[in-house]
Symmetry: C2
Subunit: 352 residues, 2 copies
């Protein structure tokens, strides 16, 4: 099956299971209090807004490629990755003060809006979003622990789940500090991408699927050799889309990275290769919450003129090639190999 | 052994294990980045600042009372409860804007102070504290999943751990809303205490110890019948200490509940039974961040004069009696029974 068909098929199955699971959680919360029911309803809506579901599809495909047969069980593990993703996004959005996510308001904005007639609705919204994230972390653990796998596998999956949360947290810290400090190096960015994206988005999900399928250490190693460069490519592409992508397709503003003062590789390389006036312009734009459309266009131009855009594009392509080689040389069965090779291309060519 | 000796002995053992475990996590984080190491060091310091360790001692004693023999293993489970406690406190402190915890700065204050020369250190401090809490949730799951119990028990313990996080979250939401709304009833407060304290502080820990010991459903039921009233008594006592206790012994200011606008049973009953002038005075004091020492003394006087203090004290005693009866009528072995009866009295008589 072609990769887009696989993505479409499993996206549907994952969303169906997410819907049922969170529906059960709403029923459970309703017995406790109106406010518990309310937060679970918001959580359900947030989870079903869409998203690429890349992490959960990687889990399913790694599982199937390594001979796993219990589709119901692996879909529960895939759903745990979606719950983790929402948990981390909701907390991230508080940290970055973002208003939009997946084409709708962020969790803290939902509550701030609903309680806008009370004292300090922004603070209230953030408090509720902190708790919403905590609840989602708990639900991610819950669905794994109740899945159909045997106890040994479930424990390994839970260990992996919590390890990924930990490493992503470490990556997020580097990310926040990079917005604060002026002495950010390419090395720091690379470390952050490795933790926040490569581990979190690619390696973690592939390993979870592989663990569920009972993979050997050797197989996990090959998946890492594929996942890490691919994850770095994914993030590099994400940064490009974050500045040059379509706001409509991304479901978030194309100026948020600049407003947040994120020192992406695009920015770093542009600063490195720009003249004094351009350098000043970018430094002033970075973290400017009131940047105009015109200024944003100029930032994009500088990034192109300095060769920074093509540097990132070339890097992403080189990384994808490296990732694909790791899989080509493996003894994975053909169907799995084909999928991994195709998804690697897909990741680099996507426009959302 | 008398209860204070047991508390002292296990407090020491728990803190020793906390120290070793978090020491290992610092070493692990050091390999990743300076900022990961830094947050783990703060997390360790925060965890070792003290605290009553009541939850973890309840875990150990429930385990031993029901015939559990592996002390090393149960101490790991006890440590998971401490990690959960720190996780929830750190997030709570952001929500309540509190500066002090366990006699030191709250996590968000630590970071805000350290990065005070950067832009918006308060926002930065809160961001780091959100992540510190998330890391602690992950560590709590980790230590259970790696403990010496068999796989079936570890899975049950992890399910319980995450269920307690979820229910505590629901309780916290009611708590936050009670600070916002004016139409809070005794019933809402009771529901919040049941979730935030009875489940979290007493029933959850007792069940974790019991599950680790392989308890029967009947035994878990008896523990619930003991735990719920005891937990409600614990919270009632906590609210009393929060207003009438010693700042030095509590490690946090004795005016924070008033400043946060918390509608405790003490406040609710005082409003119910006060004259017009007293009612106005309390309502104005509630949520007043700049309340003076003199005004605070007057709030305390009104609570005494209206009989609200004795109402809470009597309620706490009645609840403790109910809890003790559940244990007295059980078939638990004598040593366990004695401990549970003594700790119930201890909870009600403590002054910190």
């Amino acid at each position: 099956m072609a990769v887009d068909k696989i993505l479409k098929l499993y996206k549907k199955k994952i969303e169906l299971r997410l819907k049922t699971f969170l529906g059960e959680k709403i029923a459970e919360a309703e017995k406790i209090s109106d406010s518990s029911k309310e937060i679970m309803q918001y959580i359900k809506e947030f989870n079903l807004r869409g998203g690429k579901r890349i992490r959960s599809i990687l889990i399913i495909m790694a599982y199937k490629s390594l001979g796993g047969k219990n589709e119901n069980a692996i879909i529960d593990i895939a759903v745990s990755a979606e719950l983790m993703q929402s948990f981390l996004l909701i907390h991230d959005d508080i940290i970055d003060d973002d208003d939009l996510r997946r084409g709708g308001p962020t969790m803290h904005k939902i509550y701030a809006e609903k309680y806008k007639n009370y004292d300090n609705p922004e603070k209230f919204g953030e408090s509720m979003a902190v708790i919403a994230g905590d609840l989602l972390a708990s639900l991610g653990n819950e669905i794994i622990s109740k899945s159909e796998f045997d106890e040994e596998k479930k424990l390994k999956l839970l260990q992996k789940f919590n390890k990924v949360v930990k490493l992503t947290g470490y990556g997020e810290i580097i990310d926040i500090l990079s917005g604060l400090r002026t002495d950010v190096r390419e090395e720091d960015i690379s470390k952050m991408h490795r933790l926040k994206t490569a581990t979190y988005t690619i390696e973690g999900p592939l390993h979870m699927g592989a663990i569920a399928a009972g993979a050997s250490k050797e197989q996990l190693k090959i998946l890492s050799e594929y996942a890490i460069p691919l994850g770095m490519a994914f993030q590099t592409k994400d940064d490009i889309l974050g500045l040059f992508g379509s706001e409509e397709k991304l479901g978030k503003p194309a100026d948020s990275d600049i407003k947040d003062g994120k020192k992406t590789l695009l920015i770093l390389k542009a600063i490195e290769n720009s003249n004094k006036e351009q350098k000043e312009f970018i430094k002033n734009a970075l973290g400017n919450k009131n940047i105009t459309e015109k200024e944003l266009i100029k930032v994009r131009e500088i990034i192109k003129q300095t060769g920074s855009l093509s540097y990132s594009e070339n890097l992403a392509e080189k990384l994808v090639k490296k990732a694909k080689n790791a899989i080509k040389n493996s003894d994975f069965e053909k169907q799995g190999k084909d999928f991994f090779l195709e998804i690697a291309d897909y990741i680099i060519k996507r426009d959302y």
